[in-house]
């Protein structure tokens, strides 16, 4: 018996070889099979076959314990699309959300559901505006909550690439919905955004980039570092060389294969320091830091220990969720390390040096 929760071709791809185990942050920390990608795919199969019922405690727990970082994907020789499976899983399992999940996610998804609500958010904080010089370049994505939380990021992006257009009526890309059990709505929002913003869309959020490229096609989406690298003319280092680390965006790296570009851009303006865990999730993982604060903090703590031991001045993020996670953690520790977005770092150097 098959319940049509999952796309069969996606689910059958896995041959349970276990190559994914060492790449999975939750498996590495627990050593428990059901907390690995292979184990979770087994749970999905049991759910699909009706061997485990809806509401099974382990199934529910694992669907939320998984960070959704997709670190299992690049190491999978069989090419299992784990991220897509997770979205289908949560779409099914999280329909009957638990109380705490409903209280936290409900308002968040509601807010990002309509463009006008986000526009109100944008009035509170001053994100980038389409100025009179705005050319006919690609469209800059403001991000749903990014525009309010980190308005400086989009302003920095425009400073770096003045050709970028800014449409003030744009909505959310739907990644938030797709990752949190509303897959259809997540795709719908991405399609609406694709219609509103014609041509190439440039984003400062790795998570949005990966979701948009899944729905709209890879060709229409550029994450900022990718766009800047394509445009050429890397900024030069100014003055003293600061030691700078990078926190990869999981979906940018594992979903889109973009990781060399931000490193090259950082290396042009400072001394780039590769953290051993640069490619590992920081525990932000979209809404994870809110839904599972303790697990999230445990993962973040390992990262912060490493950052402080590495003696870096700055850590750079390429996704607003990671940026918020790192800033919060560093502030709580009163660390001397500062976290900022790649766009901010480059714009700073740009100001010091004048030209790109």
């Amino acid at each position: 018996m098959s319940r049509a929760i999952f796309t069969p071709e996606l689910l059958d791809r896995c041959i349970s070889c276990g190559f994914c185990l060492p790449a999975c942050p939750t498996y590495v920390r627990t050593g428990v099979e059901v907390s690995s990608p292979r184990g979770r795919i087994d749970l999905m199969r049991a759910l699909e076959a009706g061997e485990l019922p809806d509401g099974d405690a382990t199934v529910d727990e694992e669907s939320s314990f998984c960070l959704g970082c997709r670190a299992c994907e690049p190491v999978c020789p069989a090419g299992v699309q784990y991220g897509a499976l997770l979205e289908e899983w949560r779409d099914h399992t999280w329909q009957r959300r638990g109380r705490s999940r409903r209280l936290l996610l409900g308002p968040l998804l509601w807010g990002a559901n309509r463009a006008w609500r986000l526009r109100l958010l944008g009035l509170v904080r001053r994100h980038a505006r389409g100025g009179p010089r705005a050319g006919d370049g690609p469209q800059l994505l403001l991000g749903c909550y990014e525009r309010a939380l980190f308005p400086r990021v989009s302003r920095a992006a425009r400073k770096l690439a003045p050709a970028l257009r800014v449409d003030r009526g744009q909505g959310c890309c739907g990644a938030l919905h797709a990752h949190n059990g509303e897959l259809a709505r997540g795709r719908e929002l991405a399609e609406q955004l694709g219609q509103r913003l014609e041509g190439t869309i440039v984003t400062t959020a790795g998570g949005c980039a990966a979701h948009l490229s899944t729905v709209l096609g890879r060709a229409r989406v550029r994450e900022l570092s990718e766009y800047l690298a394509e445009q050429g003319g890397l900024p030069r280092a100014g003055g003293e060389r600061r030691r700078i680390a990078l926190q990869d965006s999981c979906h940018l790296r594992n979903g889109m294969g973009v990781f060399a570009e931000p490193r090259a851009l950082i290396a042009a303006v400072g001394e780039y320091v590769e953290l051993a865990s640069a490619a590992e999730c920081c525990g932000a993982a979209g809404t994870y830091s809110m839904l599972r604060p303790n697990d999230s903090a445990r993962i973040l703590d390992d990262k912060l220990d490493e950052l402080e031991a590495a003696g870096v001045d700055l850590v750079v993020a390429v996704n607003p969720g990671c940026l918020r996670q790192l800033q919060t953690g560093l502030r709580r520790r009163r660390s001397r390390v500062r976290a900022l977005h790649l766009a901010e770092l480059l714009a700073e150097s740009h100001e010091h040096k004048g030209s790109l």
Binding site: S16, C17, F19
Partner: protein, 405 residues
């Protein structure tokens, strides 16, 4: 736990990482799945005796890395080495890419602690190169697939790491041609550290995953490597390359450096799972023949595939005669196709036996090959296996329904 399980007659299936290539860790009779991955302490690297002592859950890669930190090498390196555990490697007598020159897991097992089904604890061997006090239980436990005892501590031989290594690729119009080149290389008096091949189907899927720049238009690629002193390595790599050219290689390349060589070997290790890209069902086999028969075996595999209209991707350890023909089917519900696949494997096993080979070289018997065991060994041999099993596990609780039952 084992004493209680024995009393209750409850099956216990010990397992490591569960790569499960021969369905050896399937709990088809229920019971307790005894996963040993969290017994993962590396207890000691003894530089004077050149041994490592570890718990069963240490991964092969972790042991190899720890040994490398002391300038030592743990040679067995199964494709699954990043996840598979030493306990699992010993229980399956795992091979790997270095088998030809360095041998397999049993050649490195010096000692172990094991818990019998009755709960009794035994030790066999130790930090000893020589030991003849009694039957060689180590060799018996190695490859016993969790049917005789639960391995709880292992002592393994390490060797000094080779000074340097070199790797090359030779492309051939067909897998059989690559097989003939293998024979020529080995006749030439060189014992390569690595001699692996992939057919055209595997080249395609491996390249899709790893993008290491393999030629997609070739019928097969032979990956060859040597390690040792730099001069010897250079000389041997050149000699192997010559032998390949003499056997009609389309192109021969030598890796620029060790890092490039390692990327190619990692790609080769991903051959099996990457085949899963081609269809929804992947059926893997492990037929092994004397290496002089490798070209003949390859031809028999291809003939079986053609006869049954199946897509077979073959890769394997060409140097030690160990082949992994893998059938990929598009639809798991197509019973007729599954039946054809089983018929093809039946013929492939028979061909291996006819050529003086065996039904499994390194993946184990498990459930998958149990029905072929008697054909390989005859009734008397299989009866003896049962009596051995009974001596270790009178209640028949350890991994029941597999080897020895």
């Amino acid at each position: 736990m084992l004493a209680v399980a024995s009393e209750l007659g409850l099956p216990v299936i010990p397992r490591g990482a569960g790569s499960n290539l021969s369905a050896g860790t399937i709990a088809d009779r229920g019971g307790i799945m005894l996963t040993l991955t969290r017994m993962d302490r590396l207890l000691e690297i003894d530089l004077e005796n050149l041994v490592a002592v570890c718990q069963p859950g240490v991964t092969n890669a972790a042991l190899a890395a720890a040994a490398a930190g002391h300038g030592l090498l743990y040679p067995p390196d199964p494709g699954s080495r990043t996840t598979s555990t030493i306990g699992g490697n010993v229980a399956e007598n795992a091979g790997g890419l270095r088998g030809l020159k360095y041998g397999v897991t049993r050649d490195y097992l010096l000692g172990c602690e094991a818990v019998l089904a009755t709960g009794e604890v035994i030790r066999a061997g130790g930090k000893l190169v020589k030991e003849v006090a009694g039957y060689d239980l180590l060799r018996l436990l190695c490859g016993s697939e969790g049917t005789l005892a639960v391995l709880t501590e292992l002592t393994l031989r390490l060797v000094p790491a080779p000074e340097s290594s070199g790797l090359g690729l030779a492309y051939f119009p067909s897998l059989a041609a690559a097989g003939r080149a293998v024979s020529r290389v080995l006749r030439g008096g060189v014992l390569p550290a690595t001699l692996e091949f992939l057919d055209a189907v595997c080249i395609e899927t491996v390249e899709d995953f790893a993008a290491v720049g393999l030629r997609r238009d070739a019928g097969a690629v032979l990956i060859f490597g040597q390690d040792g002193g730099p001069e010897g390595v250079q000389r041997d790599v050149a000699r192997i390359a010559e032998a390949c050219e003499a056997e009609g290689a389309i192109e021969v390349n030598v890796a620029r450096d060790a890092a490039e060589g390692e990327r190619i070997l990692d790609a080769r290790r991903a051959a099996l799972p990457s085949l899963s890209r081609l269809g929804r069902v992947t059926l893997l086999e492990d037929a092994t023949v004397p290496r002089s028969e490798i070209a003949a075996m390859v031809e028999r595999i291809e003939a079986a595939g053609a006869r049954h209209g199946l897509r077979i991707g073959t890769f394997g350890h060409a140097g030690d005669g160990n082949l992994h023909p893998t059938i990929v089917l598009p639809d798991p519900d197509d019973a007729e196709a599954v039946e054809r696949a089983h018929r093809a494997f039946d013929e492939i096993f028979q061909a291996a036996i006819d050529l003086g080979g065996t039904i499994t070289g390194e993946h184990g018997v498990g459930l998958a090959k149990l029905s072929f065991l008697e054909r390989r060994h005859g009734a008397d041999h299989v009866a003896l296996l049962r009596r051995i099993k009974h001596a270790f596990d009178p209640q028949g609780i350890l991994n029941p329904g597999k080897l020895g039952s």
